[in-house]
């Protein structure tokens, strides 16, 4: 069973690296943030798998914390960064 976890983990890590592309590309602030959001969710999945793979139950708590904090960045972004100057785009 271990190798299934490992393969799953690897696919997830690869999908993380694909997601990095969107953060680099943009073109909008929002796109970068969405990619970060996906990172968070993938991170949760990775941590849940690691909890089984390394039999480290505390990894689930870490996943729980990540899940709860995942949207903090989104809210902060929408209310603080994006809200202030509507027409802004950041240059790539």
């Amino acid at each position: 069973m271990t190798w299934v976890y490992a393969v799953t983990l690897l696919i997830l890590l690869i999908s993380l690296i694909v997601g990095v592309w969107r953060v680099i590309q943009g073109p909008r602030l929002a796109d970068r943030l969405l990619a970060a959001q996906l990172f968070g969710t993938t991170g949760v999945a990775v941590l849940l798998l690691l909890a089984e793979l390394q039999s480290l139950p505390a990894a689930r708590d870490t996943a729980l914390v990540l899940a709860l904090l995942a949207m903090l960045a989104a809210v902060a972004f929408v209310s603080r960064v994006w809200k202030v100057r509507p027409d802004s785009e950041d240059r790539p």
């Binding site: 999908s15 909008r28 996906l38 139950p57 929408v78 994006w82």
Partner: protein, 124 residues
């Protein structure tokens, strides 16, 4: 390898693939709204598959409940952040497709926004 294990493997790997598809969608889709779509799909389905795949591995009810709770929270968070980003994107008149987004047809106007706000969901 029991049948359960095979089932588990299928669930886990298809969950991971779902994430990969989500990431690719995020890269390939043309505008912010459709990217939200890709994101939330991956979140809800991918993580869901992985969580269901992991349930047989955990022998305690509490652990099962905990990972289900994590899934629920992630769904809530991704729904909320997707909504917030889309909400703000519309309020700021982000065009549907930035590549040809200069035409005014494809942008929302402020007025439209205020009337439609409660009923109109983003493209997800």
């Amino acid at each position: 390898m029991t049948l359960l294990m095979i089932l588990q493997s299928i669930l886990l790997i298809s969950g991971a693939l779902m994430f990969l598809v989500g990431s690719i969608g995020l890269v390939r889709f043309p505008d912010t709204y459709t990217r939200i779509h890709a994101l939330t799909k991956a979140d809800n389905v991918g993580l869901g598959l992985i969580v269901i795949g992991l349930i047989p591995a955990s022998f305690s009810v509490l652990v099962t409940l905990k990972i289900l709770l994590i899934w629920l929270l992630v769904m809530l968070a991704s729904a909320l952040s997707g909504h917030l980003v889309a909400w703000e994107a519309r309020a700021q008149q982000v065009p549907l497709k930035p590549s040809e987004g200069e035409s005014s047809k494809e942008t929302f106007s402020k007025r439209e926004l205020s009337t439609k706000e409660s009923s109109d969901e983003p493209s997800d």
